[in-house]
């Protein structure tokens, strides 16, 4: 019996979220007294795979097949389900990112396994198996019992600490046979920006709202982001107005993020906006209106005009960094 963790790779590399998954899975396996198996699909070097061992994996299965040429959720589901059955997995864990969200529900049906989506903590109980998750867009939480013998969980990004150990894992390479009829997605075009810090991966996010007044006022905000190594984001009206690209829109209908630090500048803090950012560990709000709801969600606040305050923050950060 085992806990099976699926880790995605990005051009042969893992990310912090991969190690969060293994850390989480290892702790859960400890609670259950089970072995930790990590499954990677696609070509990844052994030196990269070994990193997973440090976070507690007992065994790593590196599965590949040269005919896999794009992400197809049905195909990936069948591969993961195959290993889950072979290894007697009691819990299968994926990330709650785009890929995990695409696969986990399919896996749930395939394995007749109840799904706990977007969990941020270890189960609060294992018999019965109870997970804790956000509902009503962060306005409440639920304790959800999973009643099936097998369980599928997706872990919210940036919600679990990395736990490094002395452990190392064995690596098994497997050339998996695949059923071609399961592979029906055909990619005809890819548009990818490289080099930018991804909003969903960022530890710090600097975000602007309608209080920024115009798309032309973004320079100091971008400078703050640059100085902090942060990603940039915005509220929905800002992307609707075309002041900033749609990819930056956070909130219920945009991206849901959980950075360590979120700057909300000229953002009122509507529930739909908070739905996307309320899991941030710290929120800093800058707003002219001292009664803006964003201040109830923030730990630090400045009541003031962004146009005047931001240049001063840039200055202070430059001094702090000695630049």
């Amino acid at each position: 019996m085992s806990v099976l963790i699926f880790v995605e790779n990005w051009d042969g590399k893992f990310k912090k979220l991969s190690f969060e998954l293994v850390s989480y899975g290892s702790k859960l396996a400890e609670m259950l007294g089970k072995e930790v198996i990590v499954l990677s699909i696609g070509k990844v070097d052994n030196s990269e795979l070994e990193k997973l061992g440090k976070f507690g994996a007992n065994r790593i299965i590196s599965a590949f097949n040269d005919s896999i040429n794009c992400f197809d959720s049905r195909l990936f589901t069948s591969i993961i389900a195959g290993f889950a059955k072979q290894e007697g997995a009691e819990v299968v864990i994926l990330s709650n990112n785009n890929t995990g969200k695409a696969i986990a529900p399919r896996l749930s049906v395939n394995l007749k396994a109840g799904l706990g989506a977007g969990v941020g903590k270890l189960p609060t109980g294992i018999s019965p198996f109870v997970v804790y998750k956000k509902v009503f867009s962060g306005n409440a939480f639920a304790n959800l019992t999973i009643k099936s013998a097998i369980k599928v969980l997706t872990l919210a990004q940036n919600s679990f600490v990395l736990i490094e150990t002395e452990n190392s894992a064995t690596i098994l390479e497997v050339n998996v046979p695949i059923d071609q009829t399961m592979m029906q997605n055909r990619v005809i075009e890819v548009n990818k920006q490289s080099g930018k810090i991804l909003l969903t991966d960022a530890d710090i996010v600097v975000s602007g709202g309608r209080g920024m007044k115009s798309g032309d006022n973004w320079t100091p905000l971008l400078e703050i982001a640059e100085l902090l190594g942060a990603a940039t984001a915005c509220s929905r009206p800002v992307s609707d107005e075309g002041w900033r690209p749609h990819e930056e829109h956070t909130g219920q209908t945009g991206k849901i993020i959980a950075p360590n630090l979120y700057f909300a500048i000229g953002i009122s803090g509507a529930t739909q906006h908070l739905a996307g950012v309320s899991s941030s560990k710290y929120i800093v709000a800058i707003n002219t209106d001292k009664d803006a709801p964003i201040f109830s969600a923030a730990q630090y606040g400045i009541v003031g005009d962004a146009g005047k305050v931001l240049p001063k923050i840039v200055e202070a950060l430059r001094q702090q960094k000695g630049k």
Partner: protein, 249 residues
Amino acid sequence: MKILVCISNVPDTTTKVKFVDSLRKLDTQGIQWVINPWDELSLTRALELKDDPLNQVQSVTVAHVGLVGAEPTIRKALAIGADDAIRINAEPTDAYFVAAQLARVIQENSYNLILCGIESSDYNGSMVGGMVAEFCEYPSISSVSAVKIENGQFIFTREIDGGKEVVTIPAPVVAIIQKGIAKEPRIAAMRGIMMARSKPLKVVEPSVAEPLTEIVAFELPKPRAACKFVDPENPAQLINLLQNEAKII
């Protein structure tokens, strides 16, 4: 070409959620129920596709798993422009149960494109779409921000980390949609509201399926500590707090 839009019925997004029965049940008193925002956008896009005769979309159907109380929401979808509706008459206990019901209806009626939202704004499951696809043994595509039809073929744009991918998938296919699919939700016009009353709303009884999960108790978020205010003339103090108190920069 037939399109199915799966709609869930959720409290209006500005609802202040409260619970009763020792935090075990949602307090439904005074709640305004609406079409899940994503599903409203899916429906809008489906109707846009139908508007263009080149696409040869014959019908846009909406399906909902829920009790009779959800009918005003279904009628609203009909008023916006859906041709007909199917309600599977059962309490939507969990995503697995809901998906099993939808899958049966889909297999009986064979749609070319099935649209589901990325998540319901109430239980934030992000589950039903993928589950429906697996039950039906159809391909699926997630994080879809655009869909069009070219020469009878579906062309999807999906969001990937740091960019976008354009993908084709043969029908029947389940698309799980997110931001971008349509600009603004289409609004019901007076004529639509009148017509909705006479559009077919078929009620079917559920098949046997067992929920795999159950919510045992809710919790409300703990109040955050009061916000610490910094003098706007002296933001260096903020940097200092972030560095030395919160220790996050």
